[in-house]
Amino acid sequence: DTAVSQTPKYLVTQMGNDKSIKCEQNLGHDTMYWYKQDSKKFLKIMFSYNNKELIINETVPNRFSPKSPDKAHLNLHINSLELGDSAVYFCASSPRLAPSEYNEQFFGPGTRLTVL
């Protein structure tokens, strides 16, 4: 009965590789997000999607390509991984756009990506 799930939980890979992280939510929400949390715990939004449509792209390098096959899934593909991509990536979802009361964002457990 997990609300927002991500796979894998841990990902260790070499520089230059391409990898994907998958996210699924079973809450029936319209909006999904990807956040990046660095080693200092700073959390920053990368992308948001609403009903499969890209809404926010926070000047993320184009090596990062989100894909939303349906509104319950938002995957993140990363090309040519770099050392600086090492971080914890969180997927989240909310009923609709625009953070506000009764529109809480629910976060997944995170994917810890380590680039060697």
């Binding site: 809404i55 953070p99 009361e101 809480e104 629910f106």
Partner: protein, 115 residues
């Protein structure tokens, strides 16, 4: 640029005592604020929120105070318990009708409850 920040990166509190976590923000257009709790190995979890037309809101053992004059937000946790040990984030956003609003998170404060 606009930012949301915290005064104290770490805080240790004796179990049973009250704790206060502070947050400063600089975007005067921010009108909605949230506190999140992040336990080790987990994603952030919503605790309590407050709209800018309020200066105080209470939940179960938690109270959020908002001082718009000095752009300051605080989270008070009463009668702390070991399960309160976590990193706490404030987040802010500015309301608009365009749907491209985002949450901007502060740097986080690690709260440790001492048994």
């Amino acid at each position: 640029g606009e930012s949301v920040g915290l005064h104290l990166p770490t805080l240790s509190v004796q179990e049973g005592d009250n704790s206060i976590i502070n947050c400063a923000y600089s975007n005067s257009a921010s009108d909605y604020f949230i506190w999140y709790k992040q336990e080790s190995g987990k994603g952030p979890q919503f605790i309590i929120d407050i709209r800018s037309n309020m200066d105080k809101r209470q939940g179960q053992r938690v109270t959020v105070l908002l001082n718009k004059t000095v752009k300051h937000l605080s989270l008070q946790i009463a009668a702390t318990q070991p399960g309160d040990s976590a990193v706490y984030f404030c987040a802010e956003t500015r309301g608009s009708n365009f749907g491209n609003e985002k949450l901007t998170f502060g740097t986080g404060t690690r709260l440790t409850i001492i048994p």
